[in-house]
Symmetry: C3
Subunit: 275 residues, 3 copies
C-alpha cells in the first residue's frame, strides 16, 4: 500500500490536518500517512515547492503527495494530478508544479474532474483525499481527470545568468534562520568554470563555498581559541543549493543568517566570477 | 483496530505527546494514533472543543478521542468517557463535552473510576491511555467507570437570538487569522428567513455571506486590475459557521482578519435582519 | 517490528523530518515512526536530553531513538549508537548521552563507522536512518561500529550539594512556561531529611512542594472566592524534578512562571534546609 504525504499551510493548531487524516483512514484503513509540513506560510507557493521538492525524493516511488496550498478551485486554479519521477502530486494548478518540475518532465498531467461528484467546501479534504485514495487503491489518473498538456508557469524563480555573473535570489529561510538561495551547484560550476568568485548579498561577501557546515571550522585550533559559534559561511546545502549561514545559529537567541545579514525571501544574491 | 486521536495543549516541543504515544504503542502494537492538535492554547476549553468537533466526524465510527486539556483530576474535574455519535471521547468533565454535544445527545457517559488502580502524575498518560486501550481492545465503558446522567455545562457559548437579531461572538481564530464566530448557518437561516441583513463586528460591516472564499472575487476582471489580496469578506466556513475573513491573508506579514478588524475570542458579532 | 522515534531541532516547517521519514519507510515498509519533538531549540543539547529522557521510558524496550541535534560528523563529534536501559539511542557524541545516562550505565556503546559506505550531507538522513533500520531488522551494533568505553561528558548540569543546601539551576521551560529545575526529588529527600526548607529563585520563594498542581488549590472555598488562576506554586513534576509553576498559566496571554519570575535556562535555584 503506497504512502500519502501532506504538505499544507494549515498550521499545527487547527483541525484541518487531523480531519484530512481521518478522512483518509475512513477510506483506507491500512494506508500510511506522513506529514511533510503543515507550517508553510499561508498561500506561499514558493516555500511549499521548496519543501516538497526536497522531501519527496526520500519516499518510495508510487507515493502520493497532497499539496494543500492555495487549493480552492476557481476559474483560474484548476485541480490537477501529476505523475512525475514516479511520484503522484495532487494540487491546484497555481504554478507550484512548475517550480517542482524545473528539471523534470511530468509523465502525465490530468485536470481533476470529479467535482460534480463531490460536495466541496474544503478541497483538500473532499477532492484530494478522494483522488489520493483512488490512486492508492491502484486506480488510474484517467478515471479522475482528463489529460492536459501544460501547467501554469511561474517565472522569476530561476537565477539570471550574465557573462561571469549569476544573479539569484533568496528562496527559503530554514528553521535555523539560514538563507537558502535559488542558485544550484550545477549552475555555479557551469558558469564559473572553477574561477575565483565573490558572492555578494546585501553587505556580506563570501569567497569560499564549503561542502558542509563544519568545514568552515579549524579543528586544529583548540575549541576555546577558535572562531566558531556565530561564524558566517556559505555552503552547498544538502539539497544542492547555495546557502548563506551562521555556524550553529539560533534565531531565538543570538540571531540567524537571515536577521544578521538582513536577507529575506526574494532578496538578491549574486556571484561574480573573475574572468 | 480502531484509531486513537490526541487533542491537547501539550505543544509541539515537550515530551508529553511523544510519551503518550509510546505508552499507547506499549499496550497495543497495531493501533493507529492520529494527532489532531497539540497546539490548543493552554487550558482553553472552547478552542479544544471547536477543534475536536470539526475533526472527529472525518474519522471512522468507533474512533477514540483523547482530549488532554485541563485534565488534572480534582474534586471539581472528574474524568469521564462519553459515547457520542458512535465515537468515544475521554476527557475531564470541565465543560468541554457540553460544547461538543450542543446538538447531539451522548449515548452513554461514565465517570472513570480506575484511579485507585493507576498511579497518576500525568492523567493523559496514566488514565486516558489505559481507558483508550481498554476500549480499543473491545472493552466496555462499564468496566472502567460508573454511568452518570449529566455533565458540567458551559453557558455563554451559544448566540442569543432577539427579534430580527442574532448576537453571537468570536469562537476561534484560525491559522490564517480568520475570525470564526459561533453563529451557525442553520440559525442564520431560521432567524433571517431570507431577508437582507447587516453583520456588524466592531467597525466592520458585511451585507453578503459567501459560500466560499473565491466567490468574493470577480474572475471576469483581469487579475492585475481586480481587488483580491486583502479583500474582506464573510463566508460560511467548511464547519458551517459564520467566518469573517481576509482573502489570502498572511498573519505573519500583511495582517489577518483578526488583527485588522481587531476581533479576538469572545468579542461580539451581531447580525441585524431587515424586517 | 520495533519503533523508531525522532527527536530533533529540525522545526515543524522544513522538509527535514518528512525526508527522514520517507527514507525510513523506503527501507522498512512496516516500521512505526513516532515524532517525539522537532522543536528542540537549535543545537540545544540540554533541552533535547530532557525531552528524550522523559519520553523514551514510555516506549517498549527495543525502541530505537534517533536524536538529530548538533549531529554533523566532525573530528570532535563522532556518531555513536548506545544501548541503554533496553533502548537504542543514535546521536552525535556531543555530550547529550552523558546527560541521559546520569543514573544508568549503558550496556554497550559503539562509534558508528559506516561513513565510508554512505555519502553524507545530512547525517540524520544518511547515517542514522541506515543504522536505525539495521537495528530494526535485528542487526547487531558490532556490524555498524566499534565498541568504545567512554562518551563525552557534559558537566555543570547536576546540582551542587552543600551542608543543608542544594544549588541547582533551570533545566527546561515547558509549553506552559513552567520552570523545570535540575533538582530531583530523590536528592531533595536525601539532603533535606524531612526538615523545613526555603526554595529561592531570583525574588520568589517557596516553602512547600506539592505533589500535583491542584493540590495548591483550596477546593473547600467556592471557586469564585479562592485564589486560583495565576497562583504560584512549586511541585514535583511528572518527571520527578522540582518545578516552579503558575497554576493554569498561559504564556501567550497572562504570562507564565518563566516570564513572571524572570527565570530562564541555567538560572540558579537553591534550596536551604533548616538544620
Amino acid at each position: 500500500m503506497p504512502i500519502i504525504t501532506l504538505t499544507t499551510d494549515f498550521g499545527e493548531k487547527d483541525h484541518f490536518a487531523g480531519a484530512v487524516k481521518g478522512a483518509i483512514y475512513s477510506e483506507l484503513e491500512d494506508i500510511k500517512i506522513v506529514d511533510i509540513s503543515h507550517c508553510v506560510s499561508p498561500f506561499h507557493i514558493a516555500e511549499a515547492a521548496y519543501i516538497i521538492q526536497n522531501a519527496y525524493k526520500s519516499f518510495p516511488k508510487g507515493s502520493i503527495h497532497i499539496i494543500g496550498i492555495d487549493s480552492e478551485l476557481t476559474p483560474e486554479n484548476k485541480h490537477i494530478a501529476v505523475l512525475l519521477d514516479g511520484h503522484y502530486f495532487l494540487c491546484a494548478d497555481n504554478g507550484i508544479m512548475s517550480l517542482i518540475t524545473q528539471d523534470l518532465r511530468p509523465k502525465k498531467i490530468v485536470e481533476i474532474n470529479i467535482h460534480d461528484r463531490v460536495l466541496s467546501d474544503f478541497p483538500v479534504l473532499d477532492v484530494f483525499v478522494k483522488v489520493a485514495c483512488h490512486i492508492a487503491r491502484g486506480g488510474t489518473l484517467d478515471v479522475i481527470g482528463k489529460e492536459i498538456s501544460g501547467i501554469k508557469e511561474l517565472k522569476d524563480f530561476t537565477p539570471a545568468v550574465y557573462q561571469n555573473q549569476i544573479v539569484g535570489s533568496v528562496l527559503y529561510i530554514d528553521n535555523y534562520g539560514n538563507v537558502v538561495t535559488n542558485i544550484p551547484k550545477k549552475l555555479f560550476e557551469k558558469v564559473g568554470l572553477g574561477n575565483p568568485f565573490t558572492i555578494t548579498a546585501r553587505t556580506v561577501k563570501f569567497k569560499t563555498v564549503y561542502a558542509k557546515y563544519s568545514d568552515a571550522i579549524d579543528f586544529d585550533t583548540p575549541s576555546d581559541k577558535r572562531e566558531e559559534d556565530g561564524k558566517k559561511l556559505a555552503i552547498w546545502n544538502a539539497s544542492g543549493f547555495l546557502e548563506l549561514a551562521i555556524y550553529k545559529s539560533n534565531p531565538q537567541t543570538v540571531g540567524s543568517a537571515s536577521t544578521l545579514f538582513g536577507l529575506y525571501f526574494r532578496d538578491t544574491v549574486k556571484i561574480d566570477f573573475e574572468p
